[in-house]
Symmetry: C3
Subunit: 259 residues, 3 copies
């Protein structure tokens, strides 16, 4: 009997327990850590100016999530991204709210110079970042469907050299040539804060143990969507219970992959 296609990737996480260096935001830091722990990875949040660079060189992979910026966090993000690239550590850029605010759009564009392995965002963020880099001139709709950003995502992937993942009812993961579709999940995943941000962290965990960033991005999406579907089946009474069950189900997937 064969397991799911992402089984080997998840097994590599649970057995390797990669150190994932997360520069993320104050809203989702705790949930992100719990998601990574549920899968067997080792999260560590280090986001000060002095330590973010050195720590990136010893981590298995790095996440840079622009959610709640600060002056010091920006310094740390630049240092971590530069150090990760210098040490050949893969890193993920999550351009939260890029497009809505020019300041972070410029920051995200600058960070692309440090060549993230994966860029993960929703349709609006990806289309905005593609437009800001000149990769695409498409307009931005903050409620746009993931599929509507697919062209922008492919442009951004070719322009940046990164794999680009667009999250939505269907997740798309592309290197600018191939496009992988990941359906599934559950609408409640959009009603709990941090699920998208945690997906970026899971992508980082997989990048630490899987050579191909296209596969890492696709498998991370599939793992989170599978856990989300299970967490809502049988139906849950609401978002509080769903968030708890999502962590439980991620742990189930890790156990199943390891066995």
């Amino acid at each position: 009997m064969t397991g799911p296609s992402w089984g080997p990737s998840l097994r590599a996480v649970t057995s390797g327990s990669p150190l994932v260096h997360c520069l993320t935001n104050i809203v989702v830091a705790g949930f992100t850590a719990n998601v990574l722990l549920a899968l067997g990875a080792s999260p560590a949040m280090v986001e000060n100016a002095e330590e973010a660079g050195p720590f990136a060189t010893v981590a298995g992979a790095v996440l840079v999530n622009l959610g709640t910026l600060s002056g010091e966090r920006e310094v740390a993000m630049r240092a971590a991204a530069a150090a990760a690239r210098g040490a050949s550590r893969p890193w993920v850029l999550d351009p939260v709210a890029v497009g809505a605010l020019e300041h972070r759009t410029l920051l995200a564009r600058e960070l692309l110079n440090h060549r993230p392995a994966v860029i993960r965002g929703n349709a609006s963020e990806i289309a905005s970042l593609a437009g800001a880099t000149g990769a695409a001139g498409r307009g931005v709709d903050s409620n746009m469907d993931s599929g509507a950003a697919l062209g922008a995502a492919m442009d951004l992937a070719r322009e940046s050299g990164a794999v680009v993942a667009v999250s939505g009812a269907v997740d798309y993961v592309t290197d600018g040539r191939q496009v992988l579709e990941v359906p599934g999940g559950h609408i409640l995943m959009t009603r709990v804060t941090g699920v998208g941000c945690a997906l970026g962290a899971v992508m980082a965990a997989l990048l630490a143990v899987v050579a191909d960033p296209l596969q890492a991005g696709r498998d991370a999406s599939a793992i989170l969507k599978e856990a989300g579907a299970r967490a809502a089946s049988p139906p849950v009474p609401g978002t509080g219970t769903f968030a708890v069950r999502l962590l439980d189900c991620l742990g189930d997937l890790a156990l199943e992959a390891a066995s």
Copy 2:
């Protein structure tokens, strides 16, 4: 059959999904976002110096919660409050721990110049802020009953032009003339971190869609107290379960209001 008095306000949130710009603290940011999401609002935490002002002008309403201050967060709070006022966006001041620490008491007083639509705090905070503004000279008892701060609240409301909400076993909401009482809720709401802070955020969400700040404040209190009462009935084994059920019950209220 008529629904609860706050039904139309909540329905306006679930149907309008207002963008609520939260400058809040590291303890409750995640819970606050989950409370807003459960009600159908769209939370966004932007708290850096460069972006807080511009973002306040595109939000439906703004929350400024003084819980965990930092130098940069203070700059951002001043910018957000000023920008909100300039763009006629309603904003809520939550003067956490004002009275206990002079630094934040002065900050809160300064922020009043930007004319919040609502000020929400516990009895001690409201009495302290009233005293600091010269609106009232009453002493402060950190465990004081909400009713004991009612006079100070009315003074502060008249002095500041804001609706003032005092949280406690009974919540009082006043514009300095009328006083609305909101009984109910459950004692466990005081044993989970962030319930009071989340109430400030819910008030902001309602301000984005309800014209009258007195009504927005009263309805937000009533919604949270109803959810708290439901979350504890049947009795829960403890505060962990209560916090989960509180989110579930907020979602139930949103569903009921929308139907």
Copy 3:
């Protein structure tokens, strides 16, 4: 019928409701507050440069957790530790990730000058801090067993004058002469973020009401291990449920101690 050995300590917390001033990290701040609230303590996170010192002098005890540093948080930590010592308030140092990063190792060493009552960490952190102070020259293994750091812990205790607690499958608490062992707990306590950090906060809560830091450290460990064991019995479906039940069980212990 006699209760557990830590019953009187926990009863002192529930009856005294000590104010615990926490300078901690963005990952665990919410969970830490909920753990303290479940036990009946009063958490307050104040971490800005202007307020951390003054607030430490009015708190019952202070926690300084190095998890997510920032320039301002470091200023605040130095001020809080100095003020706590000056006002004879006991404080706990949690040297998160010391050893892995030189910057924080130096910070932790410097903070020892302000004489924490308790230092709590895992084996690697304790061994590193002992080595950095010259108290011990032992090497560091990031996955080392708590017992392997016992010698370093005793050295560090004698060198610093603090009680040193090493967390692991067995917790060790020592003043450099006596060694108290606390077995129990559950492996899931290592799979939820913040349990170790919360233990440091619980030690602070007990220090506020118990004269002997050795007893406070031991009883805090025993309380958390008892709650962890109960939370996993009957078995839970995963880490999400475990974290919720851990809070519920802490509340049960507080109720039992108070009765």
